[in-house]
């Protein structure tokens, strides 16, 4: 069997891609909808398009493929797996970017699509970092862990996003773009570690 296909199947990639595709299509249907950002006690007037929120879901769904069911074998393989791991992340990122831009077919404006792609890149970076530090099964932890405070605390009383809430910044915000790029780069460059006890124990 083609090793790339074997790798994809071992990571349950087809299932995750199908899930992410459904998400992207649902995002397309609601392309014109905005999510109002609630905030502690402030009656802030700030909304972000659904398409800019969807990348968190893409990162969570696609992040499930970071788990290897044979981490021990891969660690002792003759072929260095670090290259495969990085190619995997790169492929996931391209896929997430394409899926984030897909709602343009449903009339999503280009600038919103750009913010969506930016968020997909940043959140996938966070998923990669999370998988590296907390175990591949917990790849969702950092994307969800940062999205919660962003949703609930990310807007200041003057209706502007807080500096740390990069994913709800305007598409043209250079700081948000830099943050997303840095997160992805860190995930890409992080060295591979021996399989964690949790990963080894999993079937």
């Amino acid at each position: 069997m083609n090793p790339v296909l074997a790798f994809a199947r071992s990571r349950n990639l087809p299932r995750a891609v199908a899930g992410a595709l459904v998400l992207a299509l649902a995002t397309g249907v609601f392309a014109g909808t905005r999510v109002e950002i609630p905030d502690f006690r402030y009656l802030v007037d700030y909304g972000i398009p659904v398409a800019a929120v969807a990348p968190v879901a893409h990162a969570v769904v696609l992040g499930t493929t970071l788990h290897s069911p044979m981490a021990d074998l891969e660690h002792t393989a003759a072929q260095p797996m670090a290259l495969f791991r990085r190619l995997h992340l790169l492929a996931l990122t391209l896929l997430a970017a394409a899926l984030s831009a897909l709602p343009m077919l449903f009339g999503l404006p280009a600038d919103v699509a750009a913010a969506s792609v930016r968020n997909a890149v940043g959140y996938l970076g966070l998923a990669g970092i999370s998988a590296r530090f907390f175990g591949s099964g917990l790849a969702w932890l950092l994307p969800l862990g940062t999205f919660g405070p962003t949703l609930l605390l990310g807007v200041a009383p003057d209706n502007t996003p807080e500096w740390w809430a990069w994913s709800i910044h305007a598409p043209s915000a250079a700081g948000a773009l830099t943050t997303a790029a840095l997160l992805w780069l860190v995930a890409f460059l992080l060295p591979t570690s021996p399989p964690r006890a949790d990963d080894r124990a999993e079937a």
Partner: protein, 431 residues
Amino acid sequence: MKVLLTEMRRGEAGKVALLSGVAGVWYLLSADAATSDWIGWWNQASIKVQVFGVIVMGSLMSAAAAWTAGRARRTRADAWSDTTPRGGWAQAVLLWAAAWLWSLLVYVAMAAAAFQRTAAVSEVTAPVWSPLVLGAAMTGLQIAAGVCAGTLLPSRITAPAMGVLWYLVFVLFAFLPGVSLARLFPAIDEHWDTTFQPHTGRLLMGALWCGAAALALLALPALVRRASLSPGPLVAVPTVLAVAAGGALLTFRAPVSEPFWAVRAEQPAEPACVTEGRVRACLWPDNRHLLPQAREAARAVDRAVGPLPGFRHDFRQTGLRLVGPDSAELPVYQPVLDSGTMTEAMLSATLPSRPEGCAPHVLPETDGFPDAFLVEAVVNSRAKRPTPYYGDRFAKALERVLAAPAADQDRWLSTAAGAVGACRPVPVPPR
């Protein structure tokens, strides 16, 4: 106990709790006291910790609990764990307790950070605990839901789905404030300044509901999976308690436009007051740290309109009983205010308000704006506070009043204030 400690070390909840704790403590410690709406008010400090604990930490801990609960199936050890002499309910309670204890540790750290910030501002020490108890119980319910979902649906996606689900629940209820069902998933996100005090009975009832519902929920996986050691009739105890407490919460009624989880505070025996010349300002005793700013503001107002009849010279913070027609409500929206903001609040309140149903009058000189705007602009200028720009014609009228002899200006201001309060047109400005 030893098994519990081992599970606390073994499970992922510790890492997630630590992550939430770092975010929470950083958020509480980095808040700017000058603009914050909670640093300095004990009610608010407690609410802040509670709402962060439930919405952010609770959602993540629920996801972590779901992940931990799916461990036996992921590692294909479920057949083994099903044959242990410990029943399914006890196993679920163990997973729940391990995660909940981690969240409690972090919760205490966040409460300490918030209370320390408030103690640094406030001159009273009155930590409010009942919202914290409800928040702790609610995180327990969230974690129990996570354990239940993780055991029954041991997929890798269950854990993040639980986190997303809780976020969605809270966002949904935030936009549907009138829905009674929201009381069963309490994340109190209200502004309780010093005019409110927690409704301890309801908060404790809510905590009882959350605790009992959590214990009953934890029995569900064992009942559904028909574990060899089923929970037995003991499960009826938390179930009955949960039904009773939940039913009571849904039955309680709060007066219209009043919060469900709080009541109006009783009038203090002795408000904290300052007097400068003819101006007196009174605050709630818990706000006595604002007395220096109130004194400066009262001095500025006394200089501007102190000797003038027709204006109000007695200011009472919102919620304090007014003591006559000369008394005005003084709004204080945040626990830390500078004297300039306090002065502006007093100057806004010093002009009598128009009687209900009285349409504002317009002067030709004010270029179509209500005549009261000109009176306010003159008062603000006398107190050396900025006035809004309403156009060149309005500015000329303002200059004309300010250039008038002091006696004429005073006479016009007094008459104008009386006219506004009596719903009469303000007299033509002095020439």
